[in-house]
Symmetry: C2
Subunit: 438 residues, 2 copies
């Protein structure tokens, strides 16, 4: 082999980054692989728009088959995103014996098992480091470097848009979610339709992949508890700071023997926690392995060059394997294919953690006693309570921090508290991850 030919389907932002790296870092890539990596073909429905990068026009095609069927192409990079035709293209590439690299978290979260099985049967590599945490090599680390460990805990900031918004709300107390979201959209850190990010689905798709690697458990996204940041109120940001907490949208995995909690929601985190310093658009993955103890990975989780860096990392690894005559050796999710995880994902109602509970109550005698009474009836014991002055609406925020409590109890108590005449609405609940609480 005197060169490694690569085809790409999807010439958007990340695709432009891939081309940029292949051009600008051609020399070091060749030094690191031993032969040149050649981009042989790029397919996209739009081959007119200027991507701000020079590409030989003869490489461009609107027909993906020109990539999928080219016998000279060893590896196909899929960057169109979404379910179809991405799924069909990837399966066809695999059937044609081509290696595959993709950044498509939505597709792999939904159709991973089918695609990974096809890759195994064909003996090809499928790389997807770019699907989680952009440029941070976290999937590879879970699958290889940290493979000796049982993963007791993973806490991860996997969505840069949410982290940017929460950081801005923390740095500018009082500013509303909507205001910061508009700002983020203006800066290009949030999509025009931001739902996928701010409602947590993007992070959930990533968590499905991480859970496959850490525990070998493959679940559909809709089996996870997912709560976004749309309802975060500036008041709760301020309260968090008073408690020396920061609010982050966390993807959490917590082991209980073979079973796991796997959930995504805004979380109060002690200001001294390694993840609390992961601000702005940055991503961070904190984990605890039974042998390796605590680790933190920090870096850019999105963006053109960081994501393309992960794509090219997979291309290079695969190129080395193909040149060495050995692709398809490392299982994509890091477990032998015929192995089935013995555990399951716990229902959110089964989890036990600490809670921040804010009740907007009318300032009448006996209200606090009624609320506390309901909590007591649901076995929720209170670590601290603080009541602030009356606000414009005439209600006072009463904030409880609970001892370890069961989610089912919190939900039921919350339901009942919300129905009290003296209470404005259902309480605001934010889960707390603080090892110092009991």
């Amino acid at each position: 082999m005197n060169e490694f030919a690569v085809g790409m389907i999807g010439f958007g932002t990340i695709g432009s980054g891939v081309v940029k790296i292949l051009q600008e870092n051609r020399d070091i890539l060749e030094a690191r692989v031993g032969i040149p990596i050649r981009l042989a073909r790029i397919a996209d429905l739009d081959i007119k728009t200027d991507r701000g990068i020079r590409v030989d026009p003869s490489l461009l095609t609107t027909d993906a088959q020109q990539v999928l069927e080219d016998p000279n192409i060893s590896l196909v990079i899929e960057l169109i995103g979404g379910y179809e035709p991405a799924r069909t293209f990837i399966l066809e590439a695999i059937r044609n014996g081509k290696q595959v690299v993709t950044a498509n978290k939505a597709l792999l979260a939904a159709h991973g098992p089918e695609i990974f099985r096809a890759a195994r049967d064909a003996g090809v590599d499928i790389g997807f480091e770019a699907a989680v945490a952009g440029g941070i090599p976290i999937l590879r680390s879970l699958r290889e470097g940290l493979v000796a460990n049982r993963f007791e805990k993973v806490m991860a900031i996997l969505n840069g848009t949410c982290n940017f918004i929460l950081t801005a709300m923390t740095d500018n107390p009082g500013v509303s979610f909507e205001q910061v979201l508009r700002e983020a959209q203006g800066m290009g850190y949030a999509e025009a339709d931001p739902a996928l990010d701010i409602d947590g689905l993007d992070a959930a798709q990533k968590l499905v992949l991480v859970l496959g690697l850490t525990h070998g458990i493959r679940v559909p996204v809709n089996r996870l508890y997912v709560e976004g940041i749309r309802n975060i109120d500036p008041f709760d940001i301020v309260m968090a700071r008073e408690f020396s907490y920061k609010i982050k949208l966390l993807a959490l995995i917590i082991s209980h023997g073979d079973d796991v909690e796997a959930r995504i929601h805004p979380t109060m985190l002690p200001a001294g926690h390694p993840l609390a310093g992961v601000d702005g658009v940055f991503n961070g993955i904190y984990l605890k392995g039974d042998m390796v103890d605590e680790q933190l990975f920090y870096g850019r989780g999105a963006g053109k060059e960081p994501t393309a860096s992960a794509v090219i990392g997979d291309v290079i690894e695969t190129a080395r394997n193909v040149i060495g005559g050995k692709a398809g050796v490392v299982p994509p999710l890091g477990y032998a294919q015929d192995w089935t995880a013995p555990g399951r994902v716990l229902d959110i109602r089964e989890i036990v953690t600490n809670y921040y509970v804010r009740v907007q109550a009318f300032d009448r005698p006996g209200v606090l006693s009624k609320i506390a009474g309901i909590m007591g009836e649901h076995s929720i014991s209170i670590h601290s309570v603080s009541q602030k002055g009356r606000d414009k609406s005439g209600t006072v925020p009463v904030v409880f921090v609970t001892h370890l409590s069961k989610e089912a109890d919190i939900q039921e108590a919350s339901e009942r508290i919300g129905r009290l005449d003296a209470v404005e609405d259902r309480p605001v609940i934010i889960r707390i991850e603080d090892d110092t609480l009991s």
Copy 2:
């Protein structure tokens, strides 16, 4: 293949950790590899001492040849450390077609090229993730996940003993280096003979390996500038805090085109830098890639289980390769073997950075002017100066922070300043890494 048989030479602390992981995590290792990993033989001169772990006595031998020549053993783990007989054992294992995993940074820093060449010629894998930063999968990340990048900067805390001592001195202002060292020795965080750690050689050996991966440059340890933490004075720790700096022993790589700075010394770092929060025995690697931008890896850089976790990570990767029919595919340092780095390591006198310069001067008229005059004559321009009250010895510490200056100029000025009658000794020089200074 229905099992993967491993032999181990060296049954000390890390070796015990390896046995522990193979025993306690047998099930997940098998799930992740597809077949069991069997520890077939352990060689150590001492096979009597109780390591606090149950091992079938028939596996133990005092004769390393029992490991090296066993035809059933596919992989040899070398954990005896030092140059010989480790080098001979590893080369013999390679000649016998066995894969090798080692944690031996001293050996690889000195004899890496010979050993890597032998591994390539024999077509075997040689894993050494455990040699740098313990459980943190940094070498694999540089070689694979981040392979698309030119590394513009690496700043790393690679020695837990030094970081523990500097952290303790920072947390307890006024406590001397010697006092903290004794404490660290009592807690098992420093060796009885701590020279290898505190004089920077351990970090330097690791930096040689990192530099091989980031730039393909292979230099002997003695080509690097290495300065340890033995002379760090509590006064400078206090001054650092006043400037909102923290002092860390950093291993630094900074690119200048093909050439690089590669140096190890105590460094003042802004308190907000991601590495400034890496405290105690923890290690951290901060890097800047041209495509991926900033990343931080944080975790335990030493200790029984974290280091053994890295050893087993390499064992698993190699086992997958061997089972898949192909080892020796990824070059150990990440570059094609016939490739030669075009750059060189700059001499310390060529570097340009900011400096903290403390002069102990007798409080006489005209002294400050003389010192500043010498600096000016050597083209050193001063960013700030602060003079503190007279101390016990009758001298006053005068602290300068310089604008960007050339090391050669600093050295020469320092030499001259030290010879002034009004000055007690050669100035204390601590390099500063602060992007906000010019």
